[in-house]
């Protein structure tokens, strides 16, 4: 039985110096057989397991993770959550996630520190202005909150932005989604892990998948570093390593894995109470609850699995940050890191069945998967349990690269992730 987290449990455990908290999830050895196995213990994988157990009553399932849970891109992103996407399919997908975020801490009994501090996207040229206005209208038609702001309104909403007309890329306006914001990324993985574990899901860490066993066109199980696990359903949620797993099953995916970098500054007092993104100059920044500026840089253009990235990418981002926020000119950066993101040609994800029965892929989230974590898990669980996609992820099938029915968010929505 899982103890409930509350103010009373906090007081009770304080009396024993916080040394007797119940374990949040077990550390089981893999069983011989499961009804389904999720490959990848990041936020999306753990959420998938959670909803499989909760909504589809599949409790004899496991999550296998080659490292530790939440140690991949879940712990490496800049924690931004928003749903202001242009196309109907994307808007449906990301707003489904945002609606779950709004009640997630209560549902999981785990504080994911979801903070609807708003996300503002800046326009720096006339095309940006047209694109962002179009996107604002499209969002509102889809029932997603969005407003277009003038330069003065941008300045009023975030006073530290340099809105002077004589900078290289002046601020001509912007959009604001007030329901958008941030969440604590580690807590999302931990909350879902705890919730899934409580319903009987085995979370198996330090267990790397080495092969996928097929019998003709069906999945029979997976070879792992902890032995063979028999299962008829495998859901792969391996982000940057999706192609590696696909190759094991003899599949090819339309993905390229590239390093994406982020960095944080030394902690300072509250100075920016929202998230500001600028696609044209590729700079985005928010402030963590600890006080660090959280800055997202861009991807390198070459395939790499090194979790590093090139120095000039960071330099370019910081140039832009300094022009937009001269107040940050003396900030010192504390840490920089890279994650490997799997990018689709149309910059939209794949949540899909494959040509192999019982093998499902949830990948291609590229540079912006964190925001979708709860929705992605919910829809992928539906796809695995029913062997059919939910109507919200039907457009994000693998076959769209054959039919040509792409969800081309890349240029159209001017989205920085």
């Amino acid at each position: 039985m899982r103890n409930k987290y509350s103010v009373f449990s906090l007081i009770k455990n304080a009396l024993s110096y916080h040394e007797n908290w119940q374990r949040a999830w077990k550390d089981p050895a893999p069983k011989k057989e499961y009804d389904a196995v999720i490959v990848g213990g990041g936020g999306h994988g753990l959420a998938t397991a959670y909803y499989l157990a909760k909504k589809h009553k599949m409790n004899n399932i496991a999550v296998v993770e080659k490292g530790w849970i939440g140690g991949g891109n879940t712990g490496r992103n800049t924690t931004i959550i928003r749903s202001n996407y242009l196309w109907d399919a994307s808007a449906g997908l990301y707003d489904h996630a945002l609606k779950i975020w709004e009640g997630l801490s209560q549902e999981l009994n785990y504080n994911v520190m979801f903070s609807q501090r708003g996300v503002m996207n800046l326009a720096h040229n006339l095309q940006d202005v047209r694109d962002l206005k179009r996107r604002t209208h499209a969002n509102r038609l889809n029932g997603i909150d969005a407003v277009y702001l003038s330069t003065e309104e941008v300045k009023k909403f975030c006073p530290i932005i340099n809105t002077s007309p004589d900078i290289r890329y002046p601020v001509l306006g912007g959009t604001l989604q007030r329901r958008a914001g941030t969440a604590r990324h580690d807590a999302v993985a931990w909350g879902y892990a705890r919730g899934a574990d409580a319903m009987g899901v085995d979370i198996i860490q330090n267990c790397e998948v080495k092969g996928i066993k097929r019998n003709g066109d069906s999945v029979e199980g997976i070879e792992t570093t902890k032995g063979f696990i028999k299962t008829k359903k495998v859901g792969v949620v391996a982000a940057g390593h999706s192609s590696v797993i696909a190759n094991m099953a003899g599949l090819r995916l339309p993905l390229e894995s590239k390093p994406l970098q982020a960095l944080v500054s030394e902690p300072v007092k509250p100075i920016i109470d929202t998230v500001v993104m600028s696609n044209a100059v590729h700079a985005y920044v928010s402030q963590s609850d600890k006080g660090e500026l959280v800055i997202g840089a861009g991807t390198d253009d070459y395939v790499s699995y090194t979790q590093k990235g090139s120095h000039q990418i960071v330099e370019g981002t910081l140039n832009a940050i300094l022009e937009l926020y001269p107040i940050f000119s003396r900030m010192r950066m504390l840490r920089q890191w890279g994650g490997i993101v799997d990018i689709c040609p149309d910059a939209s994800p794949i949540l899909s069945k494959t040509s192999i029965k019982g093998l499902y892929f949830n990948c291609g989230w590229g540079t912006g998967g964190f925001k979708a974590t709860p929705g992605s898990g919910d829809l992928f669980a539906h796809t695995i349990a029913n062997d059919e996609p939910h109507k919200l992820n039907a457009a994000f099938n693998l076959n769209r690269f054959v039919s040509g029915d792409l969800v081309d968010e890349h240029g159209a929505a001017a989205v920085a992730h």
Partner: protein
């Protein structure tokens, strides 16, 4: 971030170059006869290998010439560089 030995200019910083993706993907000889599956394979599907991969690169801020590279994507180590049209050297 690494140094790249351009076959025309010599060793230069990686930021002078643009990565051009997987190499040796042959353009279909009879495009009109291709099925949708074959188009998808040609246009979108990629090996995306973790390990030794064949790639095209362009010295975009230098001589602007294209060339091929064999690189280990798990540690960014460059194994070989050879010109367009040449056969990959045996490693």
């Amino acid at each position: 971030m690494f140094l790249i030995n351009c076959p025309y200019c010599g060793e230069r910083d990686q930021q002078e170059f643009k990565a051009g993706g997987e190499a040796h993907i042959e353009r279909p000889k009879q495009p009109t006869e291709l099925s949708d599956d074959e188009w998808a394979e040609y246009l979108f599907m990629r090996k995306n290998i973790k390990g030794v991969q064949f790639e095209r690169w362009n010295h975009s801020h230098g001589c602007r010439k294209w060339f091929n590279m064999i690189r280990d994507t798990s540690n960014d180590e460059i194994k070989a560089i050879y010109k367009m049209g040449e056969k990959p050297p045996s490693q």
